[in-house]
């Protein structure tokens, strides 16, 4: 720990391009070994869980241990389907971005379980405050794919009137808050929303997601402080996908043991969860939701996962990490793991999987055709130009009226 004293210490990632990644140093506890306390237990009963790992699917894809949520095969197949769709959608959109159909795109490859399983464990009316990488929630909540695409290509049917960068979705009907480009701001907002639900005597709760890098922001601390002080019915998720653009998670983590452990310092129940294990994410979210709904207050969940692709279409990860890392990630791939689990239980097979992939591909391709019929960013039609002056206020003031005139629209 001592570094002499001549220089301060700057953490470096375990592996850089050219290195052969070996993740054995992570020393991850085995699936099924974590205790499952009562949902209303004191946060103190989560101390070991915050540095451990809540896991259900073992290396043989069997569901083991106390956290197994014992989901019906139907529900798991639905989850699988949402994850497959998320991935296919992402891949298609990336391709379209490369073709110039949209200005920007962000995939969630490798992290589909984090969003999909959580969304399924929540109620559809629970309010979510996601970052830009939880598109899986939208699929799980049944958002129309054409609508999603219309937003991404900013066309005349974009429900955000072309105002936001692609993937910065907002969908009030689906209780999906407007995604911000500013990191972390949604975390304390979610706490405020949850407080309002409690204030109104509802049993709705709120949930929010930020990345590992974003935990460094002041808003992370603000959110946890509010959540603890007011015992807000909220689930605060940290998606630790190991990277913040080019910065390894250890730039935010420093010498801390885990991100989940940070919650303990606020007296919040805190769990580290295998984020690539659909069943574990489902179970942990279910536990935290029950806790929140019953008045037990907030939970911090760290979802341990890996960003399997570039940060965004503006990024090239081969510049800062070995290309082989994603493949060697010890917690595997969430789609593959749930698929194998279902197969192992005789509830799924490769043929059905191929059919699913084909159906989803068709859906995505067909949806894009339809979306494009409403226009694209470059060729239009877009939302009417004068719409840029709308929604600044409930009613535009003289400045906006004049400016619209100046622009001649």
């Amino acid at each position: 720990m001592s570094n002499g004293q001549s220089r301060f210490h700057v953490p470096t990632p375990p592996f850089r391009p050219g290195d052969a990644p070996d993740f054995s140093y992570l020393n991850l506890p085995k699936a099924g070994t974590a205790r499952r306390p009562d949902a209303l237990a004191s946060w103190r009963e989560t101390v070991d869980l915050a540095t451990g790992l809540v896991g259900v699917l073992d290396h043989n894809h069997q569901a083991v241990g106390d956290w197994d949520p014992r989901l019906s095969p139907e529900l798991m197949r639905e989850g699988l389907s949402h994850m497959v769709l998320t991935r296919i959608y992402d891949e298609r959109m990336l391709k379209l971005q490369r073709q110039g159909k949209m200005s920007f795109y962000m995939k969630s490859a490798g992290e589909e379980a984090v969003a999909v399983a959580a969304a399924m464990a929540l109620r559809p009316t629970d309010m979510v405050f996601p970052s830009y990488r939880q598109q899986g929630i939208l699929f799980a909540r049944g958002r129309n794919i054409v609508d999603m695409m219309c937003h991404c290509i900013s066309n005349s049917r974009d429900n955000l009137k072309g105002r936001q960068l692609p993937v910065h979705y907002a969908w009030a009907e689906g209780h999906f808050f407007t995604v911000s480009g500013n990191l972390g701001t949604q975390f304390p907002q979610a706490v405020g929303y949850a407080m309002a639900c409690a204030y109104k005597g509802e049993d709705r709760i709120a949930a929010s997601w930020i990345g590992d890098g974003t935990t460094a922001e002041g808003d992370f601390h603000g959110a946890l402080t509010l959540a603890s002080t007011y015992r807000a019915p909220v689930i605060l998720n940290v998606v630790n996908n190991q990277w913040a653009i080019s910065s390894h998670q250890n730039i935010a983590l420093g010498d801390a043991p885990t991100f989940a452990a940070k919650g303990l310092g606020y007296g919040l129940a805190s769990l580290r969860v295998d984020g690539n294990d659909f069943l574990a994410v489902y179970a942990a979210t279910q536990w935290a939701a029950e806790r929140a709904r019953k008045g037990g207050g907030a939970t911090l969940l760290e979802l341990f996962t890996y960003r399997a692709d570039a940060h965004s279409t503006s990024d090239d990860p081969s510049k800062y990490r070995p290309k082989t890392e994603a493949g060697l990630w010890p917690l595997g791939d969430p789609v593959e793991r749930l698929k194998q689990h279902l197969i192992g239980r005789g509830e799924w097979d490769e043929t059905r999987h191929d059919t699913l992939v084909e159906a989803m591909t068709t859906l995505v391709v067909r949806s894009y055709k339809e979306a494009e019929s409403h226009g694209t960013l470059h060729d239009g039609p877009l939302s009417p130009t004068e719409s840029i002056f709308e929604d600044v206020y409930a009613r535009p003031d003289w400045r906006l009226r004049r400016q619209r005139q100046d622009l001649g629209v």
């Binding site: 407007t178 500013n182 808003d219 003289w398």
Partner: protein, 337 residues
């Protein structure tokens, strides 16, 4: 009608709001049990309960974010930032979030809420209890920015602000909480009880946002200002022998361009006064817009009377603050030009 000072008027506004609408909640540092360091929320927790008027942790960003989240769920939060000088930790939540929730979601979500904050100088508060940071907020699309200058407006505008449905930055000139100030340092405080705008109805009423008020008619020069300086302006007008027309702006965003233009077109001469540092203050916006709007009516350069481009000093406060004497000099410069 009872006489109220600005604190009492604000308290009365919040009382009316809490009473009339269960969605109204109030919070801030020391704003709960104690009733705020200036006592604006005094007695409200006792009357309405711990979950409607409550203390917040010392994190202004979290306070603003909590307001946004609550507003998104339909509450009407009134958040207090203890001094306007301490609003900067919250500015990201205000600029990047609160102001844009409606826009970026194309109206699906809104963040209507009010941020109240004691504002301005003249109380020997040094550089961290004297700032007038209104200009920052006037540059942010989606925010309304207001500065009442008397008890009647304070109450009516606070109620209007909560009802507006959009975020409002509500700056309160703390120098005149307890009585108007004529810009002559170290004189005994005068009382709102002797001021017509110190008469405040008990019940609910609103003062429309976006409207300025001609508080003195005149023909020689237009003096536009807001907050504490409205009273300094009135005192200067009384003492300078110039027939000054004074506009109390009240709302900075949106400002009342019609009232301003009508007056300037009449007088042809303008002083715009603010307490804040000169460069890029709100007086610059007014001067820029007026010269565009009333170019051919102007007979002299628009004069900006402002604080200096330095942090707000403590001991030499009265060399920094736009006092009555400095205002008289400004009026003379403009009318003699």
């Amino acid at each position: 009608m009872p006489a109220m000072n600005i604190i009492q008027a604000l308290n009365s506004a919040m009382d009316v709001l809490l009473d009339g609408d269960p969605d109204v909640v109030i919070f801030g540092e020391d704003a709960g049990y104690f009733g705020g360091v200036f006592k604006a929320t005094d007695g409200l927790q006792a009357k309405y309960g711990l979950d409607r008027v409550f203390d917040a942790p010392i994190n202004e960003a979290a306070i603003a974010a909590m307001a946004i989240g609550m507003a998104a769920r339909g509450l009407k939060p009134i958040a207090e930032i203890q001094f306007a000088d301490y609003i900067f930790p919250a500015i990201d939540q205000i600029v990047s979030e609160m102001s844009r929730i409606r826009y970026r979601s194309a109206g699906q979500f809104t963040a209507g809420c009010v941020i109240r904050s004691p504002w301005g100088g003249g109380i020997r508060g040094g550089q961290t209890h004297s700032m007038s940071p209104e200009a920052f907020f006037t540059h942010v699309p989606g925010l309304q920015v207001v500065v009442p200058s008397n008890p009647y407006d304070a109450k009516g505008m606070l109620i209007a602000a909560v009802e507006s449905g959009d975020p409002v930055i509500f700056f309160e000139p703390k120098r005149i909480y307890n009585g108007p100030f004529d810009g002559v340092p170290d004189k005994p405080l005068s009382s709102w009880a002797r001021h017509p705008k110190g008469e405040v109805p008990q019940g609910r009423y609103t003062v429309e946002l976006g409207k300025a008020e001609l508080v003195r008619e005149g023909s020689a020069c237009t003096l536009i200002t807001y907050g504490t300086l409205v009273h300094v302006a009135e005192a200067a007008a009384e003492h300078c022998g110039i027939d000054v027309e004074i506009i109390d702006l009240k709302s900075l965003v949106p400002y009342d361009i019609e009232t301003i233009a009508a007056s300037v077109n009449k007088t042809g001469r303008v002083v715009v006064a603010q307490e804040a540092p000169r460069t890029s203050g709100f007086a610059a916006e007014l001067a820029a817009q007026i010269q565009e709007e009333c170019f051919y009516a102007l007979e002299a350069p628009i004069f900006r009377l402002t604080g200096w481009d330095t942090p707000y000093p403590h001991a030499h406060e009265w060399a920094y603050f736009p006092t009555r004497d400095r205002m008289i000099r400004a009026l003379k410069t403009v009318t003699e030009a």
